[in-house]
Amino acid sequence: MMQTTFKVHRFDPEQPEHARLATYVVELPESASIVDGLTYICDEQDPSLAFRANCERGSCGDCALRVNKKGVLGCTTKIVDVVGKDGIVTVEPIRHVPVLKDLVYDMETFLWRKVRAVTPWITPQAAGPNGASTVSEQKIAEVRTAMSCVMCGLCDEGCTVVAVDDQFVGPAALTKAYRAIFDPRDTRHVERLQSISEPDGVWDCTHCFEANGHCPIGIEPTDRIFEIRDEAIRLGIRSGKQNPKVRRHYDSFVNSVKKSGWLDEGRLAIESEGLFNVRGLLKLLPTAARAIVRNKAPIPYMHHKRPGAKAIRQIIEKAEGKRS
């Protein structure tokens, strides 16, 4: 048996100003999980504690929590593995979500709204003669990893963009989108890619790999996002209709590397705004002026070619040719 001090976030929506960390001392076997600890507190010490838990085997994602400042699944996290040297375990709700009570948060505003936005169900062609939509094992293997997502939302909890903007669709919903985009039975492949290319979608991801580090079951959402982006580019979808700057940025980047072998940053800034977008170009001026004063502004279109530019151009053209 092991004695641990739990410091648990308590929050009453009717008295939000009294939010606090309540202290409970629990004695449990070394095999006990965080959910075991919370259940013990609820059963033996304080039945008013609210938390969410369901399958208790890491399959439902219900018990996503922040334990000692790290997002975890409470049911698969053993107390002994996370307790500090001081014998304390701090349990809080995950970040960036409205808390309803204690450790229970609002999944609607956090996750479900975003998941619905990517239409996470497939639209298959008409069923075959036996009434089934069949798919080969080899084809479905590519999306099987994403299918394992338990929707715990910990990738969103760790997401660097969600932290500053709750409108960003987030890695959890994008993983759901991936699952549908790459399902060979789906008939809305291009439409889906176009939809998540609009503002707050896939191009708003910083590809910082935080989502991979926060996923408790190794789905690697950042890699899924990269695959969505690569597929969109293959099909010529480099932005949505409402964010053409993203497409211009990509095209300028490719053209710059094609021309000289390396990036012409001055050209990139101008072409991303759009050559005829006077307002956008004027917006660049203060930043450009500061750089010119400091003698560090790259001069656009005066980029010298690298010795290997021709070979690099051939590589890009070959890769682009293979895609079409």
Binding site: T160, D204, C208, G261, W262, A291, G308, I315, I316, A319
Partner: protein
């Protein structure tokens, strides 16, 4: 120690002070750099991997052809993109053979999959060594409070960037700041994204990240910040005035490139490290350094 040197586009473009600072530091430390001049941009995470993987494979093959086994970068983004490409090429033989045959064979090149890609920070801490570096320092930066800013691609994905046996990579920047005699200012944003990758897609979010990170470091008492990534530098330094305006909060935190911090401790002066090129002037921060020349 001899390295294939890949300076990256930004070290001679938007951050032209980085390249000379890195070269001067390398020379002082007797790191032998053979610069790869006929290679392409890594893609910086912008180009699709269909395009960037073959370009990076070509770079690796060029380094190997020059008889070198390690490629050194001075940009976290180049480091991350190259390391991920290298991982795909090393772990999937069929893929490497395909890339070699389809894209490199025309030039008579072939990548064997044996190259190691290392950022200058890792070279200093792993190959050169803290003791040897410390012995070369002539001006400990005592009095300077420095916030570390890793950026994304030197830390994540963690199983690739800091695999078993390299867990120390998670604190090299702090270790280096202490090693040069400065004081580490720890803050929550040190390994977060600077916002540069979404500057085009969502400028508001990008600027929010700049003001959050620089503001937090400043509030915790940092005189300056140091970063191993010139793209982070572009956003945190170059766009700091824009971020201040959006956040309606004055910040004024100078951002140093990693080689500049080391260079100052090696005895180079501010002009030699080209600190005058920064948008947020580091003069006041440097004045905090009590010059303490060793005999």
């Amino acid at each position: 120690m001899k390295y294939a040197f890949y300076p990256g586009c930004v070290s001679r473009g938007g951050c032209p002070e980085l390249y000379p600072a890195a070269v001067k530091v390398a020379e002082k430390l007797d790191l032998e750099l053979q610069e790869l001049t006929d290679v392409g941009c890594t893609g910086a995470g912008v180009l699709s991997r269909d395009l960037s993987d073959p370009i990076n494979a070509r770079t690796f093959a060029k380094a190997e052809r020059n008889g070198l086994s390690t490629l050194m970068t001075i940009c976290s983004t180049c480091q991350g993109v190259m390391m991920q490409a290298n991982h795909r090429l090393q772990s999937d033989t069929a893929y490497r053979v395909h890339i070699n045959k389809t894209y490199l064979a025309d030039e008579g090149l072939e990548y064997s999959g044996a190259l190691e890609v290392k950022h200058l920070l890792w070279v200093l801490m792993e190959d050169y060594g803290a003791d040897k570096l410390k012995a070369k320092l002539t001006r400990p930066l005592s009095g300077l409070k420095v916030a570390p800013f890793y950026g994304c691609y030197l830390r994540r994905p963690s199983d690739l960037m800091a695999p078993k046996g390299f867990a120390g990579r998670k604190t090299y920047l702090e270790d280096l700041i202490s090693l040069v005699g400065a004081e580490v200012v720890d803050f929550g944003g040190k390994s977060k994204c600077c916002g540069f990758p979404i500057l085009t897609a969502n400028e508001d979010n990008s600027m929010r990240m700049v003001s959050d990170h620089t503001g937090e470091a400043k509030d915790k008492g940092a005189h300056c910040m140091v970063t191993p990534c010139p793209l982070c530098h572009l956003n945190l330094d170059g766009n700091q005035p824009n971020a201040e305006k959006k956040a309606k909060k004055p910040i004024g935190l100078p951002i140093l490139h990693l080689p500049q911090l080391v260079g100052l401790a090696l005895g180079f002066d501010e002009r030699e490290m080209e600190l005058q090129r920064h948008i947020v002037p580091p003069d006041a921060a440097i004045r905090n350094v009590k010059v303490n020349m060793l005999s």
